[in-house]
Symmetry: C2
Subunit: 625 residues, 2 copies
């Protein structure tokens, strides 16, 4: 089997190699002329000077009459002065001042005296109430220097100064070539083995946010000659080309070979994670970048390299990177083999900005959709301890203040409450993380969350939650707010083909479990003990998932035969459901935040009629209280 | 003469009236369905749930072979295990896992053993190297709640979850009707009395920045029936209508009447400055806003009211207003009659953020193009003292750090140096203010500027600058860096029709002066004293302008006959020039910043060959040093 090997070049070294080469082949900003009226947001190539004055004639600043100021000298309340018809001209705001006049008397200051005569009670001085030539802009003055990003007001000033067209830096056009035998255009009904091609959508949107134009070419199969021909077309039409997927060194990875056949491959393999299998090359004097197929890897390469290529192409930096100091919520371990980019959520709690790491898999696009920031762990660093202060780069548009941090057991109702709050215009957002019921206790105790969902069965009493609070908060520090009752049970395939009747039957099927610390895992262990069963007997006991829907999805897919979960998840996946118990899903709240307006609003939304209606529709919830 | 009167309604009261009415007539957000691939930046109307899992089948996470994990149990370096051809299937990354298999062995871990057999040195556990169904997204999970602004990654997640279309809030379409008998489309050669219509360009660009679409209608003359008919058209086509100009209560101001004839005028006249003559109305259930004709007034109304109308129309706030605490560089006086919006420049100096007020005229668009922020002086406040701390709203995209503050005498060379610095990619910007040479001394002494241009003639010695430094910085604190020599003289109309021969002739013409504190004003006063002339003799002595080009523009326009200024300004306006003296235009630099990299870069650019070439082209500069 064919096997190439990737380099593991540190990012800065790779970029130096790449950008030095691009500079050497003359890659850089180009210029185009656009109408000033359409130039907002564009970058001036050269300094712009006013061609005319603004105003370009002496204009009345008021509605009134134009006069020669010296004709009015001496007028006062004690000695009013009357102007005959030939000593004034009626002018509106913006009208030119007639020859021989040099001032305007406001209409408010005029007293009609019959026969077209006007009486005034005060004099005007020369050029009073007149916008003299050049009051705003003088011909020849520099309106803006080169490199200026044009604002709406600047576009107005250009036109005021008679500058109807300007030379601006050309927006780079970036071609995107999606490759892969298995990828298909977006659909809601893909067949097995078909991968939905959404990376090009992500890239286009990112490129447009950076001020570039994007053109996506048709999906090209993993055939070297087809990819080569697509690259030739894109090189002829675009300023920069991105080849999506096929950038690694596997059997069907041709990106590097194709770039080499038309130009030069400078780097193949970066010491970053995610993003390692990237290709940095050049052909026809244009940058050609091979992006990894995994979306998260590709986004990191877009962020760390393509953004800089756009800056070079557009002649100015598109990046205003905001960083904030945050406290890490958990220990983060990273390898010395690479620089790692870890997606984090952010929220303010106890006056500190708290960063919590999201899942680190390269295929998990949701780790970017939920992310508020990026924590970079340098190559020479093995990671950080929980509680350590770290610098986090904020993602665009993120405002981490006003975040309600809900950390604990998973239930879809948290998302529903969050949506209800958004719909009602709540001035905060909800960031929820699924770490299980014990995770809620840990997070609230450590000051890492405002609240969290818990459903913790006390095997001795058969009661929920209270005894855990007493045990873990012996001196107070947390309160429990009643949530919902919900039905837990075994989810099995539709029609229950393996005839699972109760929990004891899981010994003879493939089980899928929840993670340690989850309330549902505690229930599982309680049931094992109750029935005198041992974990080792269960095929799949170590198969851990983090949510009810993840367990349901695996059973629906046939990866497992049974798993514990809530009714609403079974219903969603059209699974059979064997009820086992009714449990109390409550909210553990940090005592410090028990009266916090965000917490109160969350609970109010939970208890609203809208929420009840949604839970009824989802099924399996008891809402007596 | 017709005369209506404007109200003077406080802004908050006016907005309450206006928005309560809009709510009552049902004005609000509308929804449209768009392709998820085109939805970046749009706002979700409803929560979106995944329609399919991602991945939606069990996919190989690696290039390698798919196996049944249990077939590999027991393999180790000490007891290698060989798989026959029927026990594995070759899979690439992304390929479906064949039925009966539940794990993948990476190609790196395979040893070919002939006859299609493969040897392995370690076992794999079930689901190892497999992306199980739902690893990223589970069907039924909420991808994002309502109100979410879609990011590139979220668009990707929507497609990954099989959501190909989404309901988003409709972008409001805003119609703009420019009105006025005197206005003409942008041109570089307007006739006297023609005003270039650039406000609609400013509005369109502002609206687009807020996420709205804009449609500009043809210029409509000041005729009530024509404006009414234009408004009817715009109301039929748009969600919001802006009528530009005619919003006051003058002779030709019809906006208010026209809105009243088709709907309701809620407010006419706001207690804000600039922006007073605004009209807030409604017709056909849509907001109709009459914007003042003066650009600065209109921009303030756009910022303070139209932005909120867009928020109401789009269902979410478009405004992320950033504020900063700054120290005021000079006293600011405001009236108790209105809330005032003062444009300021910002820069860091001595660890403080310094705000300097820009010209306050409503017609001065350049006060917005130069502005970094807005200082709001509430109606109940008479202003602020110099040195007082104030809250300033940052304009979009402004980063006030890394600003070189150059405050002092005007010379176009400062703009040229600033442009050269921009072209060379300097990591800072230059903010220059023209307050005259004495202003430079004041600003550097008070810690309000890094440096400033000075050309101060000592009448007793005939020498420039040094004696002033000794006088105003007796204990040090400033250094003088040599700048340029330049020719000062009298500018007169082309052909010198009034036969001005030397400075003594200004007694018999209309003079235009520079402001107090300007080096050129000091030269003027020195010449008066030298020739035994008195200021009162000079017609126009109190006529003050702030720049050489402003003086030249007024002479070229015939508003004055003569004024002192530098040769380059006379040349720019094709004026005759009577040389009077050669002066030294130097830079006064705060001693604290004498070695500052920004200051050094400025001086290096000033002394560069590029700069010499530019100054030679402008004319009138001596560059021996």
């Amino acid at each position: 089997m064919k096997r190439n090997y990737l380099n593991n070049l540190p990012l800065e070294e790779a970029k130096r190699l790449f950008f030095d080469h691009l500079k050497a082949v003359g890659f850089g900003a180009q210029t185009e002329s656009v109408a000033s009226a359409d130039a907002c947001g564009r970058v001036l190539q050269n300094a712009v000077y006013a061609k005319i004055c603004s105003p370009h004639y002496n204009a009345s600043a008021m509605d009134g009459v134009a006069v020669k100021a010296s004709d009015t000298f001496g007028a006062s309340e004690h000695s009013p002065l009357t102007l005959t018809r030939e000593r004034y001209s009626v002018v509106d705001t913006g009208d030119p001042i007639p020859d021989g006049c040099d001032a305007v008397i406001m209409v408010e200051d005029l007293i009609e005296a019959g026969d077209g005569k006007l009486t005034i009670l005060s004099a005007v001085h020369p050029w009073q109430n007149v916008r003299q030539v050049g009051e705003d802009i003088c011909m020849g003055d520099m309106i803006a220097p080169s490199g200026t990003v044009l604002t709406p007001a600047l576009c107005g000033a250009l036109l005021a100064g008679g500058v109807t067209r300007v030379d601006v830096l050309k927006k780079p056009l970036v071609g995107i070539i999606p490759t892969g035998d298995e990828i298909v255009p977006p659909t809601d009904d893909p067949q097995k083995g078909e991968i939905i091609e959404f990376n090009s959508t992500v890239f286009s949107a990112m490129l447009r946010e950076c001020g570039a134009d994007a053109k996506t070419y048709p999906i090209t199969p993993d055939k070297k000659d087809l990819i080569r021909s697509a690259l030739e077309t894109a090189l002829a039409e675009c300023d920069i080309v991105l080849i999506s997927a096929g950038s690694s060194a596997g059997r069907d990875d041709y990106t590097s070979d194709v770039i080499a056949s038309l130009g030069t491959v400078l780097v193949h393999g970066l010491a970053i994670k995610p993003g390692k299998p990237a290709v940095l090359g050049e052909a026809c004097g244009k940058p050609v970048i091979g992006l990894p197929g995994y979306p998260v890897s590709a986004i990191v390469v877009m962020d760390e390299i393509v953004a800089d290529v756009l800056s070079a192409a557009s002649g100015h930096s598109n990046r205003t990177r905001r960083t904030r100091t945050a406290v890490l919520g958990q220990k983060v371990v990273s390898s010395l083999k690479y620089t790692e980019y870890i997606r984090v959520t952010l929220g303010m709690i106890g006056g500190r900005l708290l960063a919590s790491a999201l899942p680190r898999g390269a295929g998990v696009i949701t780790s970017f959709t939920k992310a508020d920031g990026i924590l970079t762990v340098p190559q020479n660093c093995e990671g950080y301890e929980a509680g350590e202060e770290v610098e986090v780069r904020l993602l665009d548009g993120v405002d981490p203040s006003n975040t309600l941090i809900v950390t604990g057991s998973h239930d879809p109702l948290i998302d529903e409450v969050s949506d209800l709050l958004q719909k009602s215009g709540a001035p905060f957002r909800v960031r929820s993380t699924h770490v299980g019921s014990m995770g809620a206790i840990y997070a609230v105790r450590a000051g890492l969350a405002h609240m969290g969902g818990v459903h913790l069965l006390d095997g001795e009493t058969g009661l929920y939650n209270d005894s855990y609070i007493e045990k873990y908060f012996p001196n107070g520090g947390a309160v429990l707010e009643k949530g919902v009752r919900r039905v837990q049970g075994l989810m099995v395939a539709k029609g229950n083909p393996l005839h699972v009747k109760d929990f004891r039957d899981v010994v003879r099927v493939r089980y899928v479990n929840r993670q340690r610390g989850a309330g549902t895992r505690i229930l599982c262990d309680h049931l094992l003990a109750k029935h005198g069963m041992r974990a080792q007997e269960i095929d799949g006991y170590t198969n851990e998932e983090y949510t009810h829907t993840a367990v349901a999805a695996l059973i629906a897919a046939g990866n497992a035969d049974a798993g514990l979960g809530i009714y609403s998840a079974a219903k969603m996946y059209d699974l059979d459901f064997i009820p086992i118990c009714d449990e109390e899903y409550d909210f553990l709240i940090s005592a410090e935040y028990a009266d916090d307006p965000m917490v109160r609003a969350f609970l109010a939304a939970l208890r609203s009629d809208d929420c009840k209606e949604r839970l009824t529709r989802m099924g399996g919830y008891g809402l007596e209280e």
